[in-house]
Symmetry: C2
Subunit: 465 residues, 2 copies
Amino acid sequence: MKPLSPTDQIFLWLEKRQQPMHVGGLQIFSFPEDAPGDYVARLAEQLRTDTEVTTPFDQRLDTRLAQPVWVHDKHLDLEHHFRFEALPTPGRIRELLAFISAEHSHLMDRERPLWEFHLIEGLGERQFGVYIKVHHSLMDGISAMRMTQRMLSTDPARRNMPPIWDLSVRPGHKGDSSGSSLWQSIGRLLGESGKQLGTVPVVARELLRTINTARKDPAYNSVFHAPRSILNQKITGSRRFAAQSYCLKRIKAVCQAYGTTVNDVVTAMCASALRTYLMNLDALPEKPLIAMVPVSLRKYARTAGDKADDNQGEGNQVGVILANLYTDESHAGTRLRKIHQGIQEAKDRYAHMTPEEIVNYTALTLAPAAFNFLTGLAPKWQTFNVVISNVPGPKETCYWNGARLEGIYPVSIAMDRMALNMTLTSYNDQVAFGLIGCRRTLPSLQRMLDYLEEGLLELEQDALS
Amino acid sequence: MKPLSPTDQIFLWLEKRQQPMHVGGLQIFSFPEDAPGDYVARLAEQLRTDTEVTTPFDQRLDTRLAQPVWVHDKHLDLEHHFRFEALPTPGRIRELLAFISAEHSHLMDRERPLWEFHLIEGLGERQFGVYIKVHHSLMDGISAMRMTQRMLSTDPARRNMPPIWDLSVRPGHKGDSSGSSLWQSIGRLLGESGKQLGTVPVVARELLRTINTARKDPAYNSVFHAPRSILNQKITGSRRFAAQSYCLKRIKAVCQAYGTTVNDVVTAMCASALRTYLMNLDALPEKPLIAMVPVSLRKYARTAGDKADDNQGEGNQVGVILANLYTDESHAGTRLRKIHQGIQEAKDRYAHMTPEEIVNYTALTLAPAAFNFLTGLAPKWQTFNVVISNVPGPKETCYWNGARLEGIYPVSIAMDRMALNMTLTSYNDQVAFGLIGCRRTLPSLQRMLDYLEEGLLELEQDALS
């Protein structure tokens, strides 16, 4: 029995039918060369027999003294968690994305351990998909991605590799999201780290107090500048997932031409795609959109050190940068330069801040959004319009029981007033974009994939001219 | 814009993650003889182009003056409602049932018209499935079954038959559940028919008053006799669906041997299956289980006539019989005879009652369950343990665009304290059983299919000896 951390409780509070609070990851594999045609069905048979379920995958929610706790599930039913499924004809990426869109829209069953592992056959000629879904109260996106990577190997000859639910827990690995989540900053701000947060009204009142204090402080005034947009409407319960990989070489060539980082270029690609998408809906705000970009604070806060949050030396304390996307700027090259400069300034600001100041700044940036999420009220102050998140992925070609990993795509969370989440991950020589959005608020979201490509093309052309 | 009837509102109140309030129907079709291998994919293509959506399939929930209403959905997204899906290898009935179990566990998206049409390929050699899911607030099980039948034809040569969402509404057909639902009786009892019911606490208080009055009345005292059982625990959010057809000829032979009705025999099969299932779990109550069996009141209340509920002469006013299942009786033949006698007595009682008395009796029978459902409290008085419902199905072989309907199975609702629902339907020369239950409260529910068969076998053997 283990009490839920205050931040993990927030994800339970925030969850409702139209706002499921689980994260996911989609992996696409190729059959091993010598694999028979029914390879995936055989793999499913084999996985079904793997009934050893390790922590945290054996933990379900329960309540003790009115507080949520994790307990071992004595009646774990693997058939509920491991699902063998198939794509309909013709089994293209399009059918796969439609499948994930529907699955990611479904709430999880809170009476069971909050994870699902979907093995998906019928993709292309000799490919298959794996979609892993984990509730954010059990694991955040970064932890889930790490766990997924631990399932893989760079050795194509390895066999008998267990599925994610049967991985031995690494000694000292916490296996949950405490400390790694942005929401932790909110808990900190409220001075409640490590304690139970209490009730939603109490937390909301504290957030409001914080926001009002900050708005009177000229030093923080600059964070309240995001425009209103259709991205910041209430959402409905169905999702659209769109995903695509872009060649890292192309992105790096653009970096070199402009003297920017990879992160600047992918942010500019997102900016360009958002601009085109919103212009086509006649919904581009006059003022530029602001993106909330989580960044690792390792290099900034390293010397000061914060052991409690330094999870096994992997340094996952997270701060945020509010990146102006300059969606009012029509020239792609100029837009990238401005974005680069804005992000650079934000980083420089962090370099001059104490760890405590960083935590406060981060929490403050998130506070208005957290207040809106918790109370359901429309934003009076908007600090950002969209989340653009970068989750580290594997650098080398990976395999699972000889099947080569062709692509890995994050599937994140859309929320009320934050209808779109753009999460990227790098793998091998690619950058993979996973977009999740409310299907109703943001029609035909899949078009953004073309707009991302167009955004990259424009930058390439501008660099040449 | 049309306000929801009081009864339809109840289904919205009752819905929660662990208790979705939609009903479903599964149909299994064979390919037309001349159909190509990719028949189902072509059918999916064709259905996708059928974007004419007729009432009630174009209606979504909205709120006017704090009351729920149906309004036309201006942004209807057919891709959300029509889903083309596939079974994994080896595509047996087992995979189909697992698929339906998972799908039926998912809450619907309340911001959209509350229906889904799933076309399922990959079943057997040349078969496919259709699973239709409709929220109970839009349509009850009987209306849904009728609507499904209107999609079909007895003519194998007919083509260009539209899907369910593009059926023209029959003049005078109400297309909703008003009047046909058991819950209507509750509304009536509260004297609120046609008006808004108000709030949950008000309704619960009224129900409690009714129950307490009835318990003091010796005439009604006999209804409070159901034992406690594991069927009447709180449920969780995941379902198991099990379905099978049994030969009507065999059932009729048993009827003849014992001088009973078909309904008596299928009720006895259910009794036998429940007895074996609970005995194997060491959970059979000493006192016999009581089933709530909805019956059409046409023949009883006909002369008195109740035009308001006589839906286009189809006579769907419903009363309930509390059928003692005699699960304490070990001899199958004796059990059937006792069940037959009990049901006969209940019917005789109705024959001597005025329509008003029938409505009161029905409502009273349901009141304790309704009270438990609405308040979430554990039952203090249990009037029944399980629902065994019989929905009329097509009598002749049916076709949809030349594809022969091989079987049709109802998928109903499991509720807190009512973890199992057994719904039957007849089709052609078969009786189809559809069992839906909470997967956690009732482990390995699919075994009941074998126990139903054993129950029938026992009766056949007893009749011979």
